[in-house]
């Protein structure tokens, strides 16, 4: 569950009614439980396709191509991958990062930048509508 933060404090009462102060952080907070590795990726469609390819009368080079293509149907559950990442060894974490199974928000750049952007856009809104007339 993404956390929500209150933003844009101390606004005029009338304007305050006009917009929400809530923001939803773009960063995922991993859960405490470590999921089973098998639940991170659903390969059921991949396996069904590969069974069909193997049973076919196609030449081997075509089978090789189709087997590779079948992996496009592997379903990765990225929340579970992030949960697993939080409990993984440093070596596993580095390889998960390289494979883009998670994205690390280094120095909280994304989270802080987002809060700053919300703050800035909220300030502009307040400035424009406390001091300027709306467009005709």
């Amino acid at each position: 569950m993404n956390k929500q933060t209150l933003l844009f404090a101390d606004c005029a009462a009338e304007s305050e009614q006009k917009y929400s102060k809530k923001i939803e952080a773009p960063v995922y907070e991993p859960r405490h439980d470590k999921p089973h590795l098998m639940t991170l990726c659903d390969q059921s469609k991949v396996k069904a396709l590969i069974r069909e390819i193997d049973a076919s009368g196609l030449p081997e080079d075509e089978k090789v191509f189709l087997r590779a293509a079948a992996w496009r149907h592997a379903v990765f559950h990225y929340e579970r991958a992030a949960d697993y990442y939080a409990h993984a060894t440093p070596e596993m974490q580095r390889l998960m990062e390289k494979s883009a199974l998670v994205i690390i928000d280094f120095d909280a750049a994304i989270e802080r930048g987002f809060v700053k952007l919300c703050d800035e856009i909220g300030r502009q809104f307040m400035e424009e509508y406390n001091t300027n007339e709306p467009l005709a």
């Binding site: 592997a74 992030a82 930048g113 709306p134």
Partner: protein
């Protein structure tokens, strides 16, 4: 009041509508004071009219066939009436012009608005777009994202939930940098194809929901990509993304004022989660 950086420019991607480029009027009405360039392809029969209307130095022409040949169109329709080539050409054009940051816009925007609550009235119109663009650029420069976008009405279908979000998508408007190049893929649904496929491989694309642009309804305006959608139907459009991301995208019906076949993305399966650095063990 913030000043726009010198290495920034708005690119309006347009085709066949030299007398109907609503975006340029809207930008000025909303207080944008920076440079604008019109990105037009060399197959556009109205090219001279663009030059006449906006000035030859502000109309940048690119080789559409060359761009199409360098792009995975995702079909064999041999149909180039699509924006994908222009989107990809912008990176090279920006480099030639000495521009680092640019904002790709379509040519049919009517308004730019704040979007903080459910009601949308003209009272929410942005008066100083320069300030908004500066804030977006500051954010864009501070994060490793490939691109950043304003929201659209479609992002709030079902009602605005009252929460400002950073969605993992980019459509229609694209803040880009020559220092973070990427290629759009697919002749149809190129924005969705791109943020879905590249997003699944770890590239970041964001939409900030509390700034919204309004445009003419898709498939209702003549010219440009609209004709292609009419010809091939929106099933082909949506299915392009399914082909590229079968594990996370399916075709479904979009219920709106204009119900039509559309793509649906299962975001839990589409893009990796962004996690705090403290989860990282060393």
């Amino acid at each position: 009041m913030n000043r726009l950086p010198n290495d920034f420019c708005v690119f309006i991607l347009t085709h066949g509508r030299p007398d109907g480029v609503q975006t340029v009027k809207s930008l000025k009405r909303h207080g944008y004071t920076g440079p604008i360039r019109f990105i037009v392809d060399n197959e556009d029969k109205t090219l001279d009219r663009y030059r006449q209307n906006f000035g030859a130095d502000r109309v940048i022409v690119f080789d559409k066939k060359a761009e199409a040949d360098a792009c995975d169109e995702g079909n064999n329709f041999d149909e180039r009436r699509t924006i994908t080539m222009a989107r990809n050409a912008c990176f090279g054009i920006a480099e030639k012009l000495g521009i680092t940051y640019f904002l790709e816009l379509d040519d049919d925007y009517s308004e730019f608005k704040f979007r903080f609550d459910k009601s949308l009235s003209r009272r929410w119109i942005i008066l100083d777009l320069d300030d908004v663009i500066c804030a977006f650029l500051d954010f864009y420069k501070s994060i490793p994202a490939k691109s950043l976008a304003f929201s659209q009405g479609g992002d709030h279908i079902g009602g605005f939930c009252g929460v400002t979000k950073l969605k993992r998508k980019c459509m229609n408007s694209f803040f880009c940098s020559t220092e973070r190049p990427f290629r759009f893929v697919g002749a149809m649904n190129e924005d969705v194809n791109t943020y879905a496929t590249l997003g699944s491989r770890g590239d970041l694309f964001f939409t900030f929901t509390s700034v919204q642009l309004d445009q003419a309804e898709t498939q209702s305006q003549g010219g440009g990509i609209t004709d292609m959608y009419k010809r091939f139907g929106t099933y082909c459009k949506a299915f392009t993304t399914v082909m590229m991301m079968p594990s996370a995208v399916r075709v479904s019906m979009m219920q709106s004022n204009n119900p039509r076949i559309h793509h649906t993305i299962d975001w839990g399966r589409a893009v990796p989660r962004i996690v705090p650095e403290r989860c990282r063990r060393v």
